[in-house]
Amino acid sequence: MPDESSNYNPIVLAHYRHPRNFGILENASHKRNDLNPLCGDEITIYLQTAGPRIEKMTYEARGCALSIAAASVLSEFVRNKKFPEIKNLRSADMAKLLEIPQTSAARESCLTLALQSLNKLIS
């Protein structure tokens, strides 16, 4: 059996092991907590914004490797982006950021927990 899996490439594993921008953001202008009741994954997102632009996103999260890695790449991606640029992001974009194939419906919520939470926060 080859030691590889479509969803667990070195990028996903690296972000899972060492999530970027992880932690509380002091003086956050926005904060929101979300829970995926199906699996128990939980995320709290903190934002520092300047008008309709995200200066910094941090988060505290617990959950599967995919949801942590997705939050991590998202936090890097959204830095200095304007809200409208983020609103168009879909699970396919998250998969692209992690360089994994389009994932199954069962894992879609893992991939998009942080994204959905962020979208609720800025809308």
């Binding site: 059996m1 030691d3 590889e4 899996s5 479509s6 969803n7 667990y8 594993l13 199906l38 699996c39 128990g40 994954d41 939980e42 617990r62 959950g63 599967c64 490797a65 995919l66 949801s67 069962a106 894992r107 893992c110």
Partner: protein, 403 residues
């Protein structure tokens, strides 16, 4: 051993043989159950209890015949004590909403356990809040069984109900139901047992167990979804108000009022899940044809083999008794550095079906200090080959995570 009895196991998932290790969520269905339901729809479909015509009489005979089978299956005193519901959840809600509504008063106590499934917890939370009653919990021990020594302190004259699972759907532990029933009855409390995880795994004798109410889930004992059983002692059922009202459950109706049917009709409002009841009957026949001796030996062998092999995996922690005694083949575990959800996903890529999450027991997971766990559970169709595939799959996941 019984793999060929289950048509679905002929299916290839991702091009390979399926190792289905999720029977605690729902069992696969043997050919007999599927055939019995098709036969009903193809040859006997009609509404029951109402028709003079032949089909209706045949359907009624089949439906009521299953009531007799269930009565025998759990050793109830009479067939009127067997109520068909849409599932175990519906049965537990029925008890809380009728017996609970009628009998629970302010200051009463409802004693549950720390290992309850949400379906035997939330209905009691609601009735407790409504009535001003208090929920208490029998704690679990380090060995993942109930601490029976606490019964002396926890069961008091204020205890109205002791509601507990017969077998934990997370830990696999078989609870000492008769001992707990005795303690409850000494103080005048009634006992509600959730047998969702027990049905199909061990013989059930509601009289010996001392259960005043006992519920079953058809789909976890090789039967179809959408069918459950509520057993209740006749004396209790007779005094309870109906749960749902409408057709079939009434004796006579005027514009202003209605009177109720006798048991069991009083609790079976509306058109029943006829095909599902017939499927449940076929599942009971299937279990009888295999026999409890064979079922127990088969499941114990698998459980013992799985426990041995799982415990050898570095970083794997089992939540439940680590020996095959006093437990069934439901094994929950965590693997250090591989979140359960990812593990299940990697196993699925290898055609191994397991369950992850909190298994509808969030407070228990909190009590165990984890958010979620992976769970494997066995049925009659499993073999040691499935366990070997599981172990290989877990090792594979560890390598993917570079452990």
């Amino acid at each position: 051993m019984f793999e060929r009895k289950f048509p679905i196991l002929k299916r290839k998932i991702h091009g390979h043989r399926l190792a289905y290790l999720d029977s605690a969520s729902t069992t696969q269905k043997p050919r007999e159950v599927i055939d019995a339901m098709s036969d009903y729809y193809e040859n006997h479909n009609a509404n029951i209890h109402r028709g003079i015509h032949t089909l209706s009489q045949e359907a009624t005979a089949k439906y009521e015949g299953v009531r007799d089978k269930v009565k025998k299956f759990i050793n109830a005193t009479s067939r009127e004590e067997i109520i068909f519901t849409s599932g175990a959840t519906a049965a537990l809600n029925l008890i809380a909403a009728t017996w609970g509504e009628q009998n629970i008063k302010r200051g009463d106590e409802i004693l549950l356990t720390e290992m309850e499934h949400h379906s035997n917890l939330v209905p009691w939370q609601i009735i407790a809040r409504k009535k001003g009653a208090k929920l208490k919990f029998i704690p679990i021990s380090e060995a993942y069984s109930l601490q029976l020594a606490t019964l002396q302190r926890l069961v008091t004259s204020r205890t109205k109900i002791v509601a507990l699972t017969h077998i934990s759907n997370v830990l696999g532990t078989i609870n000492e139901l008769s001992e707990i029933s005795q303690a409850a009855h000494r103080h005048g409390a009634i006992v509600v047992a959730d047998g969702a995880q027990a049905g199909g795994h061990l013989p059930i004798d509601v009289q010996k167990l001392g259960a005043d109410f006992y519920v079953l889930a058809g789909h976890k004992m090789y039967g179809p979804t959408g069918i459950g059983v509520l057993y209740g002692r006749r004396e209790l059922l007779e005094k309870m108000p109906p749960y749902q009202t409408g057709g079939h459950m009434v004796r006579s109706v005027s514009w202003q009022a209605a009177t109720w049917s006798d048991l069991p009709g009083k609790f079976e409002a509306g058109t029943a899940n006829i095909a599902e009841v017939i499927g449940l009957g076929a599942a009971i026949d299937f279990l009888s044809s295999v026999g409890w001796g064979k079922i127990a030996r088969h499941e114990q062998n698998l459980t013992s083999d799985a426990l041995d092999k799982l415990q050898k995996i570095p970083g794997l922690k089992i939540y439940g008794p680590t020996r095959a005694q006093n437990r069934i083949g439901v094994i929950s575990f965590t693997l250090r550095d591989v979140p359960p959800h990812d593990l299940a996903s990697i196993l699925d890529e290898q055609d191994i079906a397991i369950r992850t999450g909190h298994h509808c027991a969030m407070p228990l997971h909190t009590r165990l200090g984890i958010e979620s766990s992976a769970r494997v559970s066995f049925g009659l169709h499993n073999s040691k080959k499935d366990i070997d595939e599981l172990i290989r799959g877990i090792q594979h996941a560890r390598r993917i995570f570079q452990l």
